[in-house]
Symmetry: C2
Subunit: 182 residues, 2 copies
DNA sequence: CAGGACATGTAACAGGTTACATGATTAT
DNA sequence: ATAATCATGTAACCTGTTACATGTCCTG
């Protein structure tokens, strides 16, 4: 359900094309929700059918036409209602958790290698997030409104990446101890 | 992809019916992967078609027949190969992240209420996990094999719930500060 | 001239959700 | 009586993934 609302948030902040929204899903929005361009175009079509957005075709010379989407009053209303309605807890889905439980049937060394590579990727992401926080929100105490909300979402990204890296370290140490005992 | 493998892990540890596997998804396996009974039955059918499991129908008096599934050699092979193959990073999907970014278009007080209720539910889950760790793994240093892996997965649950609760506290404090400033 | 950015789409498939359907036993 | 537990399934739908498809402009 949240894909529609993530797109509405983007359009509520400023009108844009599907392509531009897609770029945001690779950057800022991508820190808390990801989507491919196919999902975005499909969802924009549905939002238009439902009357939550309108668009204007803009012809450009030497480039394909683009559709600049704008949120409608109805769209703003739906977004506000959704923002205040209860969200269900998100069910857990941890691929690495399944892998760990499968570890006794596979090769421990290979699984440790996997964990190390995930650890490194999440550590890299963590550094991107902390760098972003330092650059854009050097004094978080005075923030309000949109800037505050963006900062708090970024804090969530930092916390979850940090927790993941720490967990990987604990698991790697535990599994390496197990190998040493053999 | 991991649903198939989560079911194979369960059957590799011991044979069981779809119903029993479903119960594990509400309990132990549910700590890192969730699935409904419809998904489980559908997937068991597919695993059988693919030759990764076999089953034996057991008739019971006064109860419907049950199918007791057993993993096949081919199934064990597929599970071991999967355990050692690379997993892609899981894309981010945070409903509450989207909500926070939508906060400026809704009602702050309602969103704070939502966050508090999520905080409480995750705190309750955290207490279940820490209680479970204390009861079943009082001395984690000596663990090896399956017990160790189960413990490490549980540690991941504890870490992620703790990180979530801490984030909620930070967000609630931030948003309440914003209300106080108005 | 190759590759990336800009710009939008169709089609097929895989995976997850929700509703409906059946039916006996056991506990409150 | 009513609800919970045991036990399995169909069908429709929604969401996400992957592959394919088109075509220009700009940069190296």
């Amino acid at each position: 359900m949240a894909l529609e609302h993530a797109i509405l948030v983007s359009l509520a902040e400023r009108p844009g094309t599907g392509y531009e929204i897609g770029q945001q899903f690779d950057r800022s929005i991508g820190y808390f929700w990801s989507a491919t361009h196919q999902q975005i175009y499909r969802t924009l079509k549905k939002l238009h059918t439902d009357g939550l957005v309108s668009f204007e075709s803009v012809s450009q010379d030497g480039r394909p036409d683009k559709k600049v989407y704008t949120i409608s009053d109805q769209g703003r209303k739906v977004l506000a209602e959704w923002a205040m309605s209860p969200t269900r807890l998100q069910p857990m889905h941890s691929d690495l958790g399944v892998k760990l439980r499968a570890a006794e049937f596979g090769d421990l060394a290979a699984i440790i290698g996997e964990l190390k590579s995930h650890r490194d990727e999440h550590l890299a992401q963590l550094k991107v997030f902390t760098g972003f926080a330092a650059d854009y929100y050097p004094e978080p105490d005075g923030l309000t409104g949109r800037k505050l909300h963006q900062y708090l979402v970024l804090r969530g990204g930092i916390r979850s990446e940090q927790a993941f890296v720490d967990w990987c370290d604990e698991v790697i140490a535990g599994l390496e101890g197990e190998i040493a005992d053999l």
